[in-house]
Amino acid sequence: MRMVPNPMTFIVLFLGVSSFILIMLLPAFLELKKPRDAGPRTIMNNIVTIPQLPTIMEDEKIVLDQALRQKIASIIAFLPNLEA
């Protein structure tokens, strides 16, 4: 036997679904009316990247690239001489 749905069921269902949709979309409508989002996203230029240490493993010893050694030496040269 087929069950005939009560008309009240339809009304409650309709009101329930409508209210749910309205509540769900309300923030979106508010944001569209008065946008507060800071878009578009600002992309960052020239993010500082550090040169990868070009290391070569030789017999379990880490050998640093010659150019990098000089670079490190020049950085260390700026440091105060603690022995003086």
Partner: protein
């Protein structure tokens, strides 16, 4: 469909995990010393409103200009695209313009890119769409990935430039956040099939040539190339820090045209590659699984109207016994309402990671974009099947119009 649902949550969690790990790491290192010669291809068909913007962006790139070649393919334009590009070529010796006449050009992006590839001299071949605007150090960031010999291609992040313009651009921006910040990042972190998006990406020239360049018979030439790269045993890396602005479609009509092309092209790729992916010895199980999900994703919206129709019929009629088998489609209907909150969750996490708290508020509106995709994908499948049965060419490239409205959002 359950597989897609699970995939959305897995991707989202993977990105959250990846981001927290990156935050813990003190410094991210990139090999800046690796600077091979590169060629940048910019196909342009009637792009006079935006071509100047990307060429201006190219002149601002920090990559050594003596190692860089920019090739604009003026693809049978009937406007001033060629003249504008020539203006830049005169003042910058690394910019070159190839003019294609009416009849030989205008056959789509893949055809234009193949012409550009023949003239390219770089070791790495990048492609950018004419409506894009790159950040100045994007090439350094992308090129660094090629130090790994297993990497055949690289993909950067796409960010919508004209986002505040209207509802459509805002929704496209949200889709892009979900697609790149979460989907692509997750695929990269989990070692799955990272997708080349057709722009803001590059390939090893040797690989591209061995694959015979772009397939002109496929509308989604980017997805096709993605799978050919993976099937050849190479990987594609995604670099989230390498960002580039795009001008998003501004109205629902252009949105339809663009998504229809994507859907149809993707379905072509599914027919072409699904079996190859399953049989491939170069792909691991998880890559095969993700590859199949990626290839077949545009078929999913087609199941939705089918399930709705069957659901309504079953509700209001007393169907014969044999019809009861279609009850199986009810879960699809249910999924289309409930399951699709998974991609919304994904977009939400992407927005959160970008620090855009107020953009959350627009996420529920994505349901309209999803509903709009249902007829788009259904028509794409119907047209594809009809053209296959009739043996007709279905590869007409319906170009997206770019208005140049995004120019006003560029901060110099």
């Amino acid at each position: 469909m359950t597989a897609y649902l699970i995939r959305h949550y897995v991707f989202t969690l993977a990105v959250l995990n990846h981001t927290s790990r990156r935050k813990k790491a003190a410094v991210t290192t990139k090999n800046e010393a690796y600077q091979p010669p590169v060629s940048i291809l910019i196909p342009a068909h009637n792009e006079e409103r935006v071509i100047g913007r990307i060429l201006q962006g190219m002149t601002k790139l920090t990559y050594p200009k003596n190692k860089m070649q920019v090739i604009v393919i003026d693809d049978a334009s009937t406007d001033n695209t060629g003249e504008t590009a020539e203006g830049y070529a005169k003042s910058h010796n690394y910019i070159k313009v190839i003019h294609r006449k009416q009849g030989e050009g205008g056959k789509g992006k893949a055809s234009a890119l193949n012409i550009g590839l023949k003239q390219a001299q770089g070791e790495i071949i990048f492609c950018f769409d004419a409506d894009y605007y790159p950040q100045s150090d994007i090439i350094e960031k992308l090129v660094a990935e090629f130090t790994d010999p297993k990497v055949g291609a690289v993909q950067g992040r796409v960010t919508v430039l004209n986002e505040p313009q209207n509802l459509v651009t805002r929704l496209v921006a949200l889709e892009r956040i979900g697609g790149y910040r979460v989907d692509q990042q997750a695929r990269d972190s989990l070692g799955l099939i990272t997708q080349f998006g057709g722009t803001v990406g590059g390939f090893r020239r040797s690989l591209l040539e061995s694959l015979d360049g772009w397939d002109e018979s496929i509308l989604a030439e980017d997805t096709d190339l993605t799978f050919r790269v993976y099937l050849a045993g190479y990987k594609i890396r995604y670099v989230n820090d390498a960002e580039c602005y795009e001008e998003a479609v501004e109205n629902w009509r252009d949105y339809w045209k663009q998504r229809y092309r994507w859907a149809k092209g993707h379905m072509q790729c599914a027919f072409k590659h699904s079996l190859k992916v399953l049989k491939s010895s170069n792909l691991r199980f998880r890559e095969k699984l993700d590859g199949l999900l990626l290839l077949n994703v545009y078929f999913m919206p087609v199941l939705v109207p089918l399930s709705w129709i069957v659901g309504v019929l079953l509700f209001f009629s007393h169907p014969p016994q044999w019809f009861s088998i279609f009850w199986a489609l009810i879960p699809f209907s249910l999924y289309s309402f409930v399951g699709n909150f998974a991609p919304f969750f994904e977009v939400g996490v992407g927005v959160y990671l970008d620090g855009r708290t107020r953009a959350y508020w627009l996420i529920p509106l994505l349901i309209f974009a999803f509903l709009y995709n249902v007829p788009i994908c259904t028509k794409a499948l119907a047209d594809l099947l009809i053209s296959k049965i009739l043996g007709k060419n279905c590869n007409h490239w319906d170009k997206t119009v770019h208005t140049g409205n995004g120019n006003s959002y560029i901060i110099n």
